[in-house]
Structures are given as structure tokens and as C-alpha cells.
Symmetry: C2
Subunit: 228 residues, 2 copies
DNA sequence: CCTCATTATTAGGCACTCCTAATTCTGAGT
DNA sequence: ACTCAGAATTAGGAGTGCCTAATAATGAGG
């Protein structure tokens, strides 16, 4: 009821908290104070304080010492930010020469400044894209979001060829490396070999063979021929 | 020396103060506290406080009870914001369907969020424009700005035909009216009649005749055939 | 079931940016 | 010169959002 009123008055910080909590609570499992503090690079004490305020405002449900979850209103606000962020990334890459390693930082600031009108115009110019440059799905304006069923490359059986859908990484240097190896969303990747005990993975992508670490494999999400 | 360091840390508020003071001190004449308060819609007391802090930071020169001027460093920062604002306006109008009456508000928020990189890319996409949609000159990246010699329409002699260069107005409704009468930058305007005592002005623009109030005439800046 | 490391919260502070109310300064007109 | 309205400043206070240090709760291992 007062959602519309508050929507106008969320501060930059609040928007960041909501986005972080959204990111940290897949399937609505509660997020821990320390994880939020880590993600936002703040002290746990600061997070405790803000969480308390946001709970009182009805954006979060907080069980002290247990964790925090978004309310419906909080989730709406979070998804609005996610939509903005990903559309801005898509727009900057498509029209202003940004690359996927540089676009995150710019979007991180712009997402708090753009109007709904501007976001929707960018979406229209791009033909209403459904994924951002990293392959992350873009929530619809009504807040609905469709996460494709993906598995990390670390779980693809040797011999299988899969399509790379999403790269869950934000460090620019790592992204540049990943792109340099041809691992961009849409690429076909064949797993040639997988060493046991979280060892390296040998793959073929864009016709070349590469050995990648297990840790890197964990951020590369793929769908296979059978839909998984 | 510490200019570069501070550049990174100017807050939104500080940027707005600098921009306001720049606007209020043509030719470096000091700006009055109350004028700044008016423009930013703040109390004079708030302005006094901020002015004191910014003076201590070296962005302003303040003579208490007299007025405030930008230092070189403050002017640089102000011009940077003006450049951003006007380039953003030009970009939004050129590529995202904005009109001159709606673009100011969006730019007002974006100017605080964009990176130098983004601003320069927008400039490049537009072919480095020199004026914004209202005809205001866009400062160069080095801070130089070239104000064309203009006179308000209220000072153009009857019978003269001039070119409308700049419309110094930001209220959307007024801008829509002005555009509806064909008074956009670049338009040729002939002054047919001027009533005395700040009375209305009869003009011809886009082949039609209009009578406009003195107050409106004061925001329409023109250059004539003889350069003035 | 008790202890203790981990995690979270509260307490107390600070910087920023705004406010209203009270005070002080300035300069124009007598 | 003096007064006084208007402009500017200072005083005091509030909300946000962060911090460090101190305290409290949790739950895993002995």
C-alpha cells in the first residue's frame, strides 16, 4: 500500500542492500549478516543497523541472529534494480562501445540514477533483450524472471558438448581472460577431460583447446543438448 | 595539487552547489547566499554552512556577508558538471527519444553518476556537439567554453530578423509552449512590433505571427545578421 | 551439558546535509 | 550619524549511513 510511496524514496544505500540480499538468497533462503557485509564491503555492525531499519520499513524480514529475507515489497524493489543494472549493461555494450569487463562498474552507478522511462527506452532500443552481456537473465518490468536451468562446467561429463549460457564473474581481469579464450555466452564448449579432486578441465572452444581451473569452471554455466 | 584527489570525492550535493554558483556568477561576480538557496531550494542557513565547508576545501572563496566565488579548482569542477549535463541532454534527445522539455530532469540525476569515459563516448557518438538542445554551449573537456554574443529578443529592434540561438528556460510546460510556436534554436525570428514599458512583442517565426510576453522574450537569446 | 570460537548485535561516535530559530551584520534612508 | 529591514550567519537538532569496540547469542566439539 505504501510501497509506491517508498519506491520513490529508496536511497542508493538501501537499493544496494536490497540487491545484495536478493543475490544472497536464492530460493528465499535467509541471507547472513556477514555475507551481506562482505558483498557490500561494509562492517557487520553497519549491516545489522541497516537491516533493522529496513525491517521496520517492511522491506525485509529479520530474525535476529538467524538471517534476513526480502518481503514481497523488498523483492520487487530488488528486482527493479537488477533489471536496471542488466539493461544498462546491455545498452552500454550494444551502443556505446563498452565491453563486458568494463560495463559492470558503470552500471553500478547508473542504476541508481536512471528513471523508469529511460530504462524502458533503452530496452526498446535494444528490442527488449532477455539477457545481459554476461548471460544473466533480465527481469521483466513486472518483476518476473526466468532463470534457465544451467549447470556449471565443472559438472559437465567429458565428451559432452554444451552451450555456454552465463558467466558469473565480475572481476574485469578474469572476464578479459575468459573472453580471450572464446568463452562468451552462446559459445559451444566441448569438455574433453576432467581431472578428479577439483582438478583442471580440458575443453575445446572456438576450435581451440584450453585447460581451465576448477574454480573458473564453476562460474561458467551451461545448457547441454538434452536441455541440461 | 590535491585537486585530482578531491575530484573523485565530490558528493552530489557539492556538485550541485558548484554548478549553482557557476550559474550565478557570470564574469566571476560573487553569488549571494540567498540566490544559491533559491536556486537549489534550500534554506539560506544550509547554504551558509556548506559554503563555509567548501571554502575550507579550496573550492570557493567566501567573504562573509559579501558573497562567494569559485576558485579555479571549483570552476573546473563546475564546468565538468555543466559539460556532463549538456552532453547528456544532447545524447538523450538525439538517441533515446527525449524532448527538450523532459530532458533536463533526467540529466540532472545522470550527471552525478556517469563516468568521464561514458560522457566522452556519448560526445563521440554525437560527433562532439557544441551546443545542447536548448542552445547552451557545451564546455570542452579541458573546461573552455565559448558563449556566443547573444541578445534577448526583448532588445531586438522591430523590423530586424535574427536567429534564435538559446532558450534559457527549464520549466517543461513553458518549453513545450515555446517549441509549439516554432521557437527552437536555429529558427529565424522577425520582430514586427514591440510595445513599450515591457509590453508584448509581436514576432514572425516559421511563417506565422505570434505575440509573446516580455518575460518570455527575455529568455530567448538571438544573434542578428550583423553578428549581434 | 558446558565451553568457546564464530557470528551478530548494541553502544557510542563521526561526517554529511539538511532544518528552524536566534543572532549578527550590512547598507539604505532618514 | 542612526535606525532598521533584510541578508547572512551561528546555534542547536535530526536523519542517514558509516565506523570501532564492547557485549551477547549461537551451535559445534569435547
Amino acid at each position: 500500500m505504501h510501497a509506491a510511496l517508498q519506491q520513490e524514496t529508496l536511497t542508493r544505500s538501501v537499493e544496494d542492500y536490497l540487491k545484495a540480499i536478493y543475490r544472497l538468497s536464492p530460493e528465499g533462503r535467509p541471507a547472513a549478516t556477514s555475507d551481506i557485509a562482505n558483498l557490500l564491503e561494509l562492517s557487520p555492525a553497519s549491516v545489522s543497523g541497516m537491516v533493522k531499519r529496513l525491517s521496520e520499513q517492511g522491506l525485509l524480514e529479520h530474525v535476529p541472529y538467524k538471517g534476513v529475507q526480502l518481503t514481497d515489497e523488498g523483492r520487487r524493489a530488488a528486482l527493479r534494480m537488477v533489471r536496471r543494472h542488466r539493461l544498462i549493461e546491455a545498452y552500454l555494450v550494444a551502443t556505446l562501445g563498452y565491453t563486458w569487463d568494463t560495463v559492470h562498474e558503470e552500471a553500478e552507478r547508473l542504476e541508481h540514477a536512471v528513471s523508469d522511462t529511460l530504462v524502458e527506452r533503452m530496452a526498446a532500443v535494444l528490442g527488449h533483450p532477455t539477457v545481459d552481456p554476461h548471460g544473466d537473465p533480465i527481469p521483466a518490468a513486472d518483476g518476473s524472471i526466468e532463470e534457465p536451468e544451467c549447470v556449471p562446467l565443472t559438472e559437465v561429463a567429458p565428451g559432452r558438448t554444451v552451450e555456454l549460457r552465463r558467466v558469473d564473474e565480475s572481476q574485469p581481469e578474469r572476464l578479459r581472460y575468459i573472453a580471450s579464450v572464446g568463452l562468451i555466452p552462446g559459445a559451444a564448449v566441448t569438455v574433453l577431460e576432467r581431472q578428479p579432486f577439483d582438478g583442471p578441465i580440458t575443453i575445446q572452444a572456438s576450435g581451440r583447446t584450453h585447460v581451465i581451473g576448477h574454480e573458473l569452471g564453476r562460474v561458467l554455466f551451461c545448457t547441454g543438448d538434452d536441455g541440461v
